[in-house]
């Protein structure tokens, strides 16, 4: 019963299915990229799918009683439970089919969570879910870089120095958080070799994201995708620029698009061009100056931010993915 739905790759946006399974009825902000991720995710997966959604904007702003946007079966799950929800639903379906209590058929199980729910609170449950090769499911972490639903508080995934409702740049002190934790997917990939597919994505590159979802579901076993989602409310910019900001994040090299399939890492789109030296990264200031959350940045802040982006490309052992470098020269035993 390890069969999965064979979802063929989509060649170009014009070949994407027209059918929508995430439709009207939601109340996300104008320009919400996370909502677009939902739409693409389920478009890629299709109707024979069960979706589980953690608390966060994609629950609260999406599913109001009487006006659900979900055409597929959908269930809310707790903030830190995307991993356990996926395991539970997949295990339940598997048990019932194996025991002849339910018609056998490959059903996609997708569980999504925000960065707060996934990269912070639910990390241990996601990690555990990735250790069960016998259950087929995808955990998709949509990263809007804050606890957005509760009013834009800093999360483990918020960028360095961003102004959030818990990290105000005050006169006496700027409560800037000093974390740099964007590589949740890579962290999970390295520790969970039984997971056949772990990737990053961004709705600005819609076909790439659609196909990553399809590859994850087709390969089967437990899989994970981390998407980077501009959020006009939390990042403080005009909603019309969401798409552009997603592209800028990739073009500046701040957000790195890649996938690891059966242990092989491949960069995708502009990230690949940057990685193979065919394209230069845009300066990060072009990205930072477009958003109110960085309005308090000094020249030094911008330079520091740039140095951090440079570091992930120039100093990391695997650019944009792993900071670990190899040294076989010395033995310190």
């Amino acid at each position: 019963m390890t069969t999965t739905q064979k979802l063929p790759a989509i060649r170009g946006v014009h070949n994407a299915p027209l059918e929508e399974f995430y439709t009207s009825g939601h109340r996300t902000c104008q320009g919400c990229e996370s909502a677009l991720v939902m739409k693409l995710m389920i478009k890629a997966a299709g109707p024979r799918t069960v979706v589980l959604g953690s608390t966060g904007c994609m629950y609260v702003a999406n599913t109001t009683y009487y006006s659900t946007p979900w055409v597929v079966p959908w269930m809310h799950t707790q903030l830190g439970s995307s991993g356990s929800a996926a395991t539970g639903a997949a295990a339940g379906l598997k048990a019932l089919m194996k025991k002849g209590k339910m018609k056998e058929e490959p059903i996609n199980v997708i569980s999504f969570c925000g960065d707060g729910g996934g990269a912070d609170m639910g990390l241990s449950a996601i990690s555990a879910s990735l250790t069960h090769p016998e259950y087929n499911h995808l955990v998709l972490m949509y990263d809007n870089e804050s606890y957005a639903n509760t009013d834009i508080q800093v999360s483990g995934s918020s960028p360095w120095g961003a102004h959030t409702s818990f990290s105000p740049p005050g006169k006496a002190r700027r409560i800037m958080h000093d974390r740099w934790k964007k590589n949740t997917a890579a962290m999970l990939a390295h520790g969970h070799p039984k997971s056949r597919y772990i990737a990053t994505g961004c709705a600005s590159y819609a076909v790439d994201l659609l196909n990553k979802v399809r590859r994850a579901l087709t390969l089967g076993g437990p899989t994970f995708i981390h998407s980077f989602d501009p959020c006009p409310k939390g990042w403080d910019y005009d909603p019309r620029y969401s798409h552009e900001l997603g592209m800028l994040a990739v073009e500046t090299g701040l957000w790195v698009q890649w996938e690891i399939e059966d242990g092989v890492l491949r960069y995708s789109g502009p990230s690949r061009m940057i990685a193979i030296g065919r394209r230069k990264r845009k300066p990060i200031v072009e990205y930072l100056k477009r958003q109110g959350r960085f309005a308090h940045f000094t020249e030094e802040d911008i330079a520091y931010f740039q140095s951090q982006v440079d570091e992930i490309w120039e100093k990391w052992g695997t650019p944009g993915v792993s900071s670990v470098k190899l040294d076989l020269k010395g033995d310190r035993a």
Binding site: P47, R48, T49, V50, L52, Y59, V60, T63, T64, Y65, Y66, T68, W70, V71, V72, P73, W74, M75, H76, T77, Q78, G80, S81, G83, S84, A85, A86, T87, G88, A89, A91, G92, L93, K94, A95, L96, K98, K99, K101, M102, I107, S124, A125, S127, A128, H132
Partner: protein
């Protein structure tokens, strides 16, 4: 006496010397559960050791998932239950508390998960022994709750638990409490019924049009807020109220199919003509019953009432059993600090149940056996003696007596 049809003729089960935990594990196999999740914490976790063995040996086909925390442990079965799988889970003490978020929403979602609580003190300070505050933390949330006192009762009650919880009129989760060590780890002779009889008693779990499945594309647990939450809470309340009749029905069927004579909600022990009655749950029944017999030999009219079910609270049974008594003593293996009597949870519930009984029965509260401390015969006699005094004075004694506690330790 009803005459037995051929179909109802007893199918021989087998007798086994097993612990309370093992009895529950046997019930899981008989009920053909689909998904079980485990996480280690004493003393409940012995049930998972037995279950994993049953699964490893092929006696039960089910997904056995070792979670990375109790929170995930309870979330996994919650979602498995939503897609239509029969589930079992359990915990003890702080492990149960670690899962509390998941436990709360399981009831809110009306998912018939069955859990074993191997009652344990909430350390710190470190303590493995039995206290009931772990299970009692969920008493207001919509979980069906019961306390079992023997291995046989553990097995029987587990089968009844799935039957009641999964009844569409109820669809509520059920927590079976078993006193840590006293029951989870002590062996008794248990009659394990034949699977064919169990199949007659326990229909398959059918989630109906609430099932999470592509054939039934529903949205479960959307945001309802002030618009609808009250109506939904009231639905849960209605389900809990309906569960009473469903429980009675289940015991009637149970007795018919397995040729037993169980009473659904309470066990009365020599209460008929008793002037003084002690009330309690779980395994303290044993020492208290011994004390009752000894005091009866001395001509004292004493008795014992054991609550088997706590949610729904067996109000009519409690009122009926206690209304003729001259005084009632309630033994709490738990505490409710700062409560009206600075006593335990059970005493307040019993006292509230007796409020409208005329003439009002005096109630005394005992806190005893905390942290697994043994309830000895002298302690049992002391509780009867104090309750006797209340019977003589005719007034409730609201000071709450801590039994078997070293003095001057404040």
């Amino acid at each position: 006496m009803t005459t037995r049809t051929a179909e109802e003729a007893p199918v021989a089960g087998r007798e086994e010397l097993i612990s309370g935990s093992e009895a529950i594990a046997q019930a899981c196999a008989l009920a053909d559960i689909d998904v079980v999740t485990a996480y280690p914490i004493r003393p409940y976790d012995t049930v998972m050791q037995f279950l994993s063995r049953l699964i490893a040996d092929g006696a039960l086909k089910c997904e056995f998932i070792v979670a990375e925390s109790e929170h995930s442990q309870f979330e996994i079965v919650k979602h498995a239950s939503a897609v239509g799988a029969r589930t079992f889970v359990g915990s003890s003490g702080v492990g149960w508390f670690y899962a509390l978020e998941a436990i709360a929403v399981t009831a809110g979602l009306r998912l018939p998960v069955v859990a074993l609580v191997g009652n344990r003190a909430l350390d710190d300070p470190g303590a493995f022994g039995c206290e009931h505050n772990d299970a009692l933390a969920v008493r207001d949330l919509g979980w069906l709750m019961n306390w079992v006192s023997t291995g046989q009762e553990a097995l029987d009650t587990a089968l009844i638990a799935w039957r009641v919880a999964e009844d569409p009129r109820v669809f509520l989760p059920c927590a079976i409490s078993a006193d840590g060590a006293f029951l989870t780890h002590s062996q008794q002779i248990v009659r394990v019924p034949d699977k064919r009889l169990v199949d007659r008693f326990l229909p398959p779990y059918n989630r109906g049009d609430l099932q999470l499945h592509p054939d039934n594309p529903i949205t479960i647990a959307p945001q309802v807020n002030e618009d609808w939450l009250m109506e939904m809470r009231k639905q849960t309340d209605a389900a809990m109220r309906r569960s009473r009749d469903v429980i009675i029905e289940a015991y009637l069927d149970f007795n018919r199919i397995f040729h037993r004579d169980l009473t659904p909600f309470t066990e009365e022990y020599m209460t008929e003509d008793a002037e003084v009655i002690l009330v309690g749950v779980g395994t303290l029944a044993l020492p208290i019953k011994v004390a009752v017999r000894r005091l009866r030999e001395q001509g004292q009219k004493v008795g014992f009432l054991r609550l088997k079910w706590f949610r729904p609270f067996p109000m009519p049974e409690v009122q009926k059993a206690l209304s003729k008594a001259k005084a009632v003593g309630v033994i709490d293996r738990d505490y409710s600090f700062g409560s009206p009597m600075h006593g335990g949870v059970l005493a307040h519930e019993v006292r509230s149940a007796l409020y409208d009984v005329e003439p009002r029965v005096p109630v005394v509260n005992f806190v005893a056996g905390l942290g697994g401390r043994e309830i000895t015969q002298p302690f049992a006699r002391e509780m009867f003696a104090i309750t006797q005094q209340a019977a003589q004075s005719g007034a409730s004694d609201t000071q709450t007596h801590w039994i078997g506690v070293r003095e001057n330790q404040e």
